[in-house]
Symmetry: C2
Subunit: 99 residues, 2 copies
């Protein structure tokens, strides 16, 4: 498998243009998104969908949940920061959310 | 439904004696436990079991997950701190973990 490369600044800027719901975390070279649902069942249902696609992609989020709220952070440890794999996972998460 | 009461110091000490895997978080009046699994699938499988029993009990954890690691914090917002509901949920989580 080819090494996973960290995105350059230009590549990152370009990718983030397509992900307006995500914030860039400079300290972690990561992207984050917080989603607020109606209740826990809806929040955890979403997490289950993300878990399945993350497992299939073998690329997993760092995330937390408090009742109806889910906070997601995506970065690629093997690349030392944001990579194409994070952009793909973020895009898939947006698709689940209908955004 | 009766109000949910915060545990007294004596009640808390007594409850924590039965929960040796949990740490007391003084700042939050909460209990925490971190569990490390083999991989993400096992970690998220555990989270799904906890989600179902939390939903049934209508009492939910604050928790985070990074790949094979799950951190759980239990407290009762309505009680302003640790209550019997947290002790019950912690006990049920320990049962899932076989501990």
């Amino acid at each position: 498998m080819a090494a996973i490369e960290q995105l350059s600044e230009a590549e990152r800027a370009d990718a983030l243009d397509g992900l307006p719901e995500w914030d860039y975390d400079d300290a972690r070279d990561a992207i984050t998104r917080t989603i607020v649902f109606t209740d826990f069942a809806e929040a955890f249902g979403f997490m289950t969908q993300v878990a399945l696609l993350a497992e299939r992609a073998d690329h997993h989020p760092e995330w937390s949940n408090v009742w109806n709220r889910v906070e997601i952070l995506l970065t690629t440890h093997d690349a030392g920061g944001l990579s194409e794999r994070d952009i793909e996972l973020a895009t898939a998460i947006d698709a689940i959310l209908g955004g």
